[in-house]
């Protein structure tokens, strides 16, 4: 059995060139005895949902992980360019030694934890956002049709950020955005929060009618700028009207027959 865990699953840092920051990791193996080999590599986003693909690119030598102390050390030299680094610290098991001489497949496992790093001289890198998509169905039935809002944001600045904001529906109902990290020069689909649970951004009313206006409002990290967008959905009781129509036709036919 292989049973690996790592904590924290995500480490975010913004650091000035010439400074040093350290982070302690906990990695456990509660499975068969094996040797874990740590490695630091760059990652690239895989799609818009926050998943990643590891690359073969090695990290600069001012980012290191000490296996004995389990400490990650980041100490960019004075002349380090102001840019973001998206990394994964991985721990890899060795394949077991085969003693059976059977037709078989052996397992190796890699567990990883992500590191988002911004190098910035003044601690205030340029941050800007673009609303790629804020949409909802244009027309829905009043019954049985929860309205789901699709939100995709793009990071057009130099540093990763999180959106802080909400979707306000008809100036009444509020759906809170999940503060997902959006990486510089990438897009990300944003979910919403229900307490601490990640959920779709959905208006769960049992019945809606008329014009439903959803206003998106968010800022990014501590930036005071408020980004706004709006989308409108019209809800009509199509099913109910259909039922009335059918009933009307039945009554008409019945009356005709009666005559």
């Amino acid at each position: 059995m292989i049973n690996l865990s790592v904590s924290p699953p995500l480490f975010e840092a913004i650091i000035q060139p010439g400074k040093t920051v350290k982070q302690l990791y906990t990695v456990s193996n509660n499975g068969n005895e094996t040797t874990l080999t740590p490695n630091l590599v760059y990652f690239v986003p895989d799609g818009n949902w926050g998943n990643i693909s590891l690359t073969d690119s090695k990290v600069p030598d001012w980012i290191s992980y000490d296996q004995k102390s389990s400490i990650l050390t980041i100490s960019p030299p004075e002349n380090t360019p102001e840019t973001d680094h998206f990394l994964t610290l991985t721990f890899e098991t060795k394949a077991p030694i085969d003693l059976t001489d059977q037709n078989s497949t052996s397992y190796k496992s890699i567990i990883g934890t992500n590191i988002l790093l911004t190098i910035s001289k003044d601690g205030n890198p340029k941050k800007s956002a673009e609303i790629v998509e804020f949409s909802a169905p244009k027309i829905v039935d009043s019954f049985f049709s929860p309205i789901t809002y699709n939100l995709t944001l793009a990071n057009t600045g130099n540093s990763f950020w999180k959106p802080n904001g909400k979707i306000i529906i008809n100036n009444d109902k509020i759906i809170k955005l999940a503060p997902f990290n959006v990486l510089s020069n990438y897009k990300r689909n944003i979910s919403c929060l229900d307490d601490e649970n990640l959920v779709e951004c959905t208006l769960q009313n049992k019945f809606n009618i008329g014009k439903i206006t959803a206003k998106l409002e968010f800022s990014i990290d501590d930036d005071p700028k408020i980004y706004k967008a709006e989308t409108v959905t019209y809800a009509f009781p199509f099913l109910l009207i259909l039922v009335f129509l059918v009933l009307g036709i039945i009554v008409k036919v019945w009356r005709k027959k009666k005559r």
Partner: protein
């Protein structure tokens, strides 16, 4: 006259229904801050070996999320919107699967269970690849990666029920598995690292989840002309939380 009465009735009925059913209420909780300091960042601790299981590190200090500011850097560790110290964990029930003696036209199957807990993370993905197709030690003979009954690949599963279709493949069944594994008869090839294929996602979720469980089932089927020998390869599973 009758028509206008019906019209008035409909308008009154729909308006009443709207006001009764569509009333919504804002939640106070929505106004709470987005970020939480879940744990102080103690930055202390030491490696403490434990029992028979290998522990790269056990810490008595900062084990999870934290936040501190200091001159020259700012740090956040963990997912601030999740009040949880659950680490990201991955387990698989075996370290090796033996297929025994392979009989021509008689598929051999074997399964392992994968469990993922991303309670402290926003989501996760598990990717898998093989170092190469099943090969003999001298690498002369190979059991090909399956093409299923018609065609399948490392990215697309297809039905594989025929006993005269040969190769090595896998099926996924359970939580968070790709939708193309329609039934337990649907198989894919493993992505082949030796031909520079990228590891393929076999489980993923955008949501927080604990003990997300799936079964991976391998299938090998050989023809009567398959040279005798011991065929082996290595599958690598890569488990990474979302960012």
């Amino acid at each position: 006259m009758k028509r206008s009465k019906v019209l008035v009735f409909c308008v009154v009925f729909l308006s009443t229904t709207y006001y009764v059913l569509s009333t919504v209420h804002g939640q106070e909780r929505i106004e709470s801050p987005n970020y939480r300091i879940v744990f102080p960042n103690l930055n202390s601790g030491a490696g403490i070996p434990t029992s028979s299981n290998y522990n790269l590190n056990s810490t008595i200090g900062q084990t999870a999320a934290g936040l501190f500011s200091s001159n020259g850097y700012r740090v956040k560790a963990g997912f601030q919107y999740i009040n949880s110290i659950i680490p990201f964990s991955f387990s698989i029930s075996d370290i090796q699967k033996n297929f025994g003696t392979l009989t021509p036209d008689t598929p051999s199957t074997s399964s392992s269970t994968i469990i993922v807990s991303a309670g402290g993370a926003g989501g996760y993905s598990i990717k898998a690849h093989e170092n190469n197709p099943l090969k003999t030690f001298d690498a002369v003979n190979t059991i090909i990666d399956t093409l299923c009954d018609t065609t399948c690949s490392e990215a697309v599963a297809a039905s594989w029920t025929s006993s005269t279709k040969y190769g090595f493949g896998f099926n996924m069944n359970g939580n968070d598995v790709p939708a193309d594994f329609t039934t337990t008869d649907y198989y894919r090839q493993f992505a082949d690292k030796s031909t520079a294929e990228s590891a393929a996602t076999i489980m993923s979720s955008v949501n927080v989840g604990t003990s997300r469980t799936a079964t991976i089932t391998y299938k090998v089927n050989v023809s009567s002309v398959q040279p005798a020998g011991t065929y082996q390869n290595i599958i690598t599973f890569t488990a990474i939380p979302s960012y």
